[in-house]
């Protein structure tokens, strides 16, 4: 592997095209994190069990991708992808529970707030799990685009 190619893979290359989609993924995670904190800490909605698992996947993305952006390191996308994937899965499951496709008895909801509760909505219209699923989807797509661009530019520099 030439030094140039390694540098390009790390994103130290001059044309770090991947930075913009990486930034978008980070921005989505940042907005989702602050939104979740606002709902929980300011509006006083108690997060249900499934919400917690989504938070566990979402919050670290801000830090992992944030460090990646700071050092222009596209490899951060690789570390972020498993988190985003797990979060996507939990959000999709949560949405099925919310829509009643999956019975809530199967869900590990303890006492406190119910994951299928109608209270799991913003402004009474948009279900929070749908927002979460949209955010994780956006992050996954942006991360894949970033990786694709980094590979593309690496190949370009090699040629």
């Amino acid at each position: 592997m030439s030094e140039e190619r390694a540098a390009a893979l790390n994103g130290k290359g001059r044309n770090a095209m991947f930075w913009t989609p990486l930034f978008l993924a980070w921005l989505i995670a940042l907005l989702a994190t602050s939104g979740a904190l606002f709902l929980g800490e300011v509006m006083g909605k108690t997060p249900c069990m499934l919400c917690w698992y989504q938070r566990i996947a979402m919050f670290p993305l801000v830090l992992v991708l944030g460090v990646g952006l700071f050092t222009s390191d596209v490899r951060s996308a690789r570390y972020a992808l498993p988190l985003a994937g797990v979060g996507w899965g939990v959000a999709a499951y949560h949405l099925l529970v919310f829509w009643g496709v999956v019975s809530e008895r199967l869900v590990p909801c303890g006492q406190g707030s119910s994951c299928a509760d109608a209270d799991v909505q913003v402004a009474g219209v948009v279900p929070i799990p749908l927002l979460s699923l949209a955010a994780f989807t956006g992050i996954l797509v942006a991360l894949c685009v970033a990786r694709g661009m980094a590979r593309g530019s690496a190949r370009g520099e090699e040629a």
């Binding site: 930075w19 980070w26 300011v42 952006l69």
Partner: protein, 218 residues
């Protein structure tokens, strides 16, 4: 270098937006509670409620209390001390906010004790023994009967009273008032009708002092 500033700038922007959201949301919900109090001012104090301290006191602390709530337990001696230290200027009106499972049964037991003039003894005993009977995953309010057994109740009469219609009606009224006044956490305090918005012992004392000044010194 430039990109780092983009990241930092975004973080700052989101933090500022968050703080602005907090300000807007709290002022709006404060307004809502104030409005709820204004339109439901008779819901604050009902003639059926227990009163601690001088009934003619000029400052009234209304406390929406849940006998199973740990923070209510922690606040009980604080509020009691405030009333006792006020030389008859402050009174406490106890309302019920049975937000936990089993709290309604506990309230009924306390009210049954009140009919026999043993309310404060029963309440203090219930608070002291709260960890025994009020575990949130497995509440056992019925064992309160044993725990307050030595305060001198006619237990047979008290048990009949606890399940009677009068106490049931009282509890329903308190729950309705709790909802009308938008109390969703306990203890919920109102001092002369002003809701305590930022929770804490110092904040409650400040609110009482403020209302005391409003009504003037004796």
């Amino acid at each position: 270098m430039n990109k780092k500033w983009i990241v930092l700038g975004t973080v700052v922007a989101v933090v500022v937006a968050f703080a602005a959201g907090v300000t807007v949301f709290t002022s709006r919900s404060n307004q809502e509670v104030k409005q709820a109090v204004q339109t439901n001012s008779d819901a604050l104090v009902r003639p059926h409620s227990p009163i601690f301290g001088n009934p003619a006191a000029r400052v009234t602390i209304v406390e929406f209390l849940d006998p199973s709530c740990e923070t209510c337990r922690a606040f009980y001696p604080i509020v009691k001390r405030m009333v006792n230290a006020s030389f008859g200027q402050v009174r406490l009106v106890v309302r019920y906010a049975p937000l936990h499972q089993g709290s309604d049964t506990a309230v009924k037991i306390l009210e049954a004790a009140r009919l026999q003039g043993k309310y404060w003894e029963a309440l203090e005993r219930a608070m002291a023994t709260q960890p025994q009977w009020a575990a949130h995953d497995r509440p056992q309010p019925e064992i309160l009967w044993d725990l307050i057994g030595d305060i001198g109740l006619d237990t047979a009469k008290a048990k009949a009273d606890a399940n009677g219609p009068a106490i049931d009606q009282l509890l329903r009224q308190d729950v309705a008032d709790m909802q009308a006044l938008k109390v969703n956490r306990t203890p919920g305090f109102f001092v002369n009708g002003t809701p305590l918005r930022e929770f804490g012992e110092a904040q409650l004392k400040a609110l009482v002092d403020q209302e005391m000044k409003k009504v003037g010194s004796p």
